[in-house]
Amino acid sequence: MNLNKFLPLTETTFYVMMSLLEPAHGYAVMQKVEELSEGKVRIAAGTLYGAIDNLMKNKMIRSVESEDKRRKVYVITEQGREVLKLEAERIRHIVKVIEDAGL
């Protein structure tokens, strides 16, 4: 599958995927995103649910067994990791273009 079609990631999607490098449930993702973005990105609950739903459909994340029956726990998939790497490559190139221009 051509993973490039998922790029560029939205800020929400990017931070949700990054938060799920380790298994976590929904609310933990919200806290993790705030931490990773140094408080700059706060994902609202409805947006997060939608993002998780989309990521599940596209097999970027999967749900894992957990002791907490009420809260679903998610973790990134191999495909999700690949997409993050592609995104890093894309951003690296953008940064290079900007720096080459002397900005």
Partner: protein, 184 residues
């Protein structure tokens, strides 16, 4: 959508707390002391009760109380646990636009179902008439029956128009909110 939230907030200011929504646009309120509340509405459908539960738990963790909604209601109402907070359910343009899209789909589905129903009623009506050759003789008996059949049809017809308008507006809002993003 946004108007619906505003409407519920205004009712709460008058001391009418929203409790429940049933089909055909009927809102149930409960009298209480007036309050400044910030209702939020979402339009989601769920594959099963499990999905719905994990959705409610996530929102609950994030500080939202479910006021009304279940896994087959297609509409969910929330209030923030901290009443002074007027947070949004959505934090980016895409997800907000997605909500309009879901609402549009909800309206279109209802519209299609109504259309199918109307067609079925009209077809069976025609059969009805042709079977009764002595229409005028039975006129007096028939009139109340026809009324009984047509009144719901008219109501449904009006509802179909309302659904159509809602769907159209939702689509417009969806496009507008996406355009707003492009112009940034």
């Amino acid at each position: 959508m946004d108007e619906e939230e505003k409407y519920l907030n205004q009712m709460a200011k008058q001391g009418l707390m929203f409790k429940k929504y049933t089909e055909f646009g009927i809102y149930h309120f409960e009298k209480n002391k007036p309050e400044d509340l910030h209702y939020r509405v979402d339009y989601r459908t769920f594959k099963n009760k499990n999905e719905f539960d994990s959705y409610v738990v996530l929102l609950d963790d994030a500080g939202w109380n479910l006021v009304y909604g279940n896994y087959h209601s297609g509409i969910q109402y929330f209030l923030p646990k901290n009443k002074n907070i007027s947070d949004e359910l959505f934090s980016d343009v895409e997800s907000k636009a997605e909500r309009y899209k879901r609402f549009n789909i909800k309206c279109m589905t209802s519209l299609c179902l109504l259309a199918v129903y109307l067609v079925v009623v009209i077809i069976t009506d025609k059969f009805h008439f042709s079977e009764i050759g002595l229409f005028w003789k039975l006129f007096l008996i028939e009139v109340p029956l026809i009324l009984l059949r047509t009144v719901p049809v008219i109501i449904l017809f009006v509802m179909a128009i309302i659904y159509g308008c809602c769907a159209y507006r939702a689509k417009k809002l969806y496009k507008e909110s996406l355009n707003k993003k492009q112009s940034l």
